[in-house]
């Protein structure tokens, strides 16, 4: 990840960002520059504004202060330079759509006009199906697929617009270990091969610990940014939370213990 590949300005720039919802400040004075190929994990308890940060980058949430730029231009609603992988919501059985149609929505789903798919678009969809390794079930009804298979297709959908930036909101939630590896591997490959930075919101950093370059750790009213070794330390999180917190490393996993109970129900969860 050479920091100079993008001229040092970064692909995503967040400066002095602040957001309050319902009279409660989620974060303020947030500064962050994301460079080419960088993998940023956003951690923090529920209600600390992780998803709101993604919504702000997507231009769907107005900031109270500061601004966010992508390639030097302010972000706006519906910016197709951004690929977005949502939280895993199972698609109902009986939905009249095949796996490849889910990816197809990323290719031309935003376009009005007669619902005809051109040959070029079909080839693009085939390419994406192959890129996320979904050939085996691309023609199955999407509602019959497992959560992991659906999530792979969603990654394909997010890559359809050849994005400059990937935003992922808890994309691994309720997936088994094998699919967690598969889906995070796809994101890792994309940022390595195309330099697309990844913002990855999660409550459990362990499945992606090997890929994370930096962590943005949000806690009530404050935040820390740095490498995992800089941020996931007892004294750093104790200071951030204002109460004793212990970071335990055991056999390659990181567990944060002693989080304030009121912060959320994930308190005893992995970091």
């Amino acid at each position: 990840m050479s920091p100079s590949a993008d001229g040092g300005a970064g692909i995503l720039g967040i400066r002095g960002a602040a957001l309050a919802l319902g009279g409660r400040t989620l974060w303020s004075g947030l500064d962050l520059v994301l460079r080419e190929g960088e993998f940023l994990a956003v951690l923090g308890a529920n209600g600390t504004g992780k998803t709101s940060l993604l919504r702000a980058i997507l231009g769907q949430q107005r900031l109270d202060a500061g601004h966010i730029e992508l390639d030097g231009r302010p972000v706006r609603r519906g910016d197709r330079r951004i690929g977005y992988v949502p939280q895993q919501k199972l698609i109902q059985p009986g939905t009249p759509m095949r796996g490849r149609d889910l990816i197809g929505l990323g290719v031309n789903g935003h376009r009005f006009g007669p619902p005809l798919t051109t040959r070029v678009e079909r080839e693009r969809i085939d390419g994406l199906v192959a890129a996320v390794g979904a050939e085996r079930y691309a023609d199955e009804p999407v509602g019959n697929l497992s959560g992991g298979e659906q999530q792979r297709l969603r990654v394909g959908q997010a890559l359809a617009g050849d994005p400059r930036l990937l935003l992922c909101d808890e994309p691994l939630i309720s997936l088994d270990l094998q699919h967690q590896r598969g889906v995070s591997g796809l994101l890792d490959a994309r940022r390595r091969e195309h330099g697309t930075p990844v913002v990855f919101v999660t409550h459990d950093v362990n499945p992606v610990l090997g890929m994370v370059d930096r962590i943005l750790y949000l806690a009530a009213g404050g935040y820390r940014i740095g490498t995992p070794d800089e941020v996931l330390r007892s004294e750093v999180l104790t200071e951030l939370y204002g109460t004793p917190v212990e970071v335990i490393r055991s056999s390659g996993r990181i567990i944060v213990a002693g989080l304030p109970q009121h912060s959320d129900h994930h308190a005893e969860h992995d970091a």
């Binding site: 769907q60 939905t95 009249p96 759509m97 619902p115």
Partner: protein, 282 residues
């Protein structure tokens, strides 16, 4: 007795002459069947079946009001439909809010409609027609209007097909890709309002679901293909509407029961086929 009942239900005397008389009604039924089948796919994907019923009761109130005031019944029906569709669209973006709003609107609309009909001094045939269907009573210029509205809805649906599919499946991601979800939802409600107003004229406010919901529900039982489901749904709607009219014109009974029965039978067959299909797969 049974022979009498049979001849009231089915009679093919002077069939050719009758067919000429109702030619326009058949065209209107055919177009509505096709468009209803198509929009039904979205109604089910967006979980709007209950909304259809709510809109149709207000459409009935509008039509009954127009009848009382002596103005164009189709126009009254359209006004009622669109008011209901916009209220539901603007206030009910979340499913739970939506259902409670519809639950409130529905009896209010039905009640108003019944009041207007009770005050209406004209023939009672017109009155029940609005609730249970009266296509034969609709005159030619109005039939032309109904066909025109249906074609308009058909074209509009085809133009918004992809973004609407995207928004129906996953509104968050669609919004991130620049799909104007809010406007699409409202636009869809307007199209729904228009087609409900047409359906009220043809099969009656109480029975609109037979052409707007049942065909799509049947198609989804036998297929998950994004092409086959709308095609089958349109075919089922067409067969129900046209078949119902063709069977009914000879007898002396209203048309709607024929349409609803055909549509229901198609659904039953599809359910059985669908159950067999999923058993084979698993």
């Amino acid at each position: 007795m049974t022979v009498d009942l049979w001849s009231r239900m089915f009679s093919f005397e002077d069939y050719g002459a009758l067919l000429q008389l109702v030619q326009n009604s058949i065209i209107a039924g055919a177009v509505l069947g096709i468009v209803g089948g198509l929009i039904g796919v979205f109604i089910l994907q967006r979980d709007m079946a209950f909304a259809v019923h709510g809109i149709s009761e207000l459409s009935f109130a509008g039509a009954a009001g127009a009848l009382l005031l002596g103005v164009n019944v189709v126009a009254g029906s359209l006004v009622g439909s669109l008011v209901a569709a916009l209220i539901i669209g603007l206030l009910g973006s979340r499913a739970r809010d939506r259902n409670s709003i519809i639950g409130v609107l529905m009896p209010a609309g039905l009640g108003l409609g019944i009041l207007f009909l009770a005050l209406y001094p004209g023939r009672s045939g017109n009155q029940f027609g609005l609730l249970t269907g009266q296509i034969i009573a609709v005159d030619s210029p109005q039939l032309g209007l109904l066909i025109g509205i249906s074609v308009l809805v058909l074209v509009a649906l085809l133009l918004v097909w992809r973004p609407l599919t995207f928004d129906s499946l996953d509104a968050d991601v669609a919004a991130a890709r620049g799909v104007p979800g809010r406007w699409l939802s409202l636009g869809f409600m307007v199209l729904l309002g228009l087609i409900v107003a047409v359906s009220v004229q043809i099969i009656g406010a109480l029975l609109v679901m037979a052409l707007l919901v049942t065909p799509a529900a049947a198609a989804l039982r036998v297929s998950s293909s994004p092409v086959l489901v709308p095609v089958l749904s349109m075919l089922f709607g067409f067969v129900s509407a046209v078949g119902g009219i063709l069977l009914a014109i000879g007898g002396s009974l209203p048309i709607s029961p024929y349409i609803t029965t055909i549509s229901f039978l198609i659904y039953l067959v599809c359910r059985v086929l669908g159950a067999r299909r999923s058993r084979v797969r698993s």
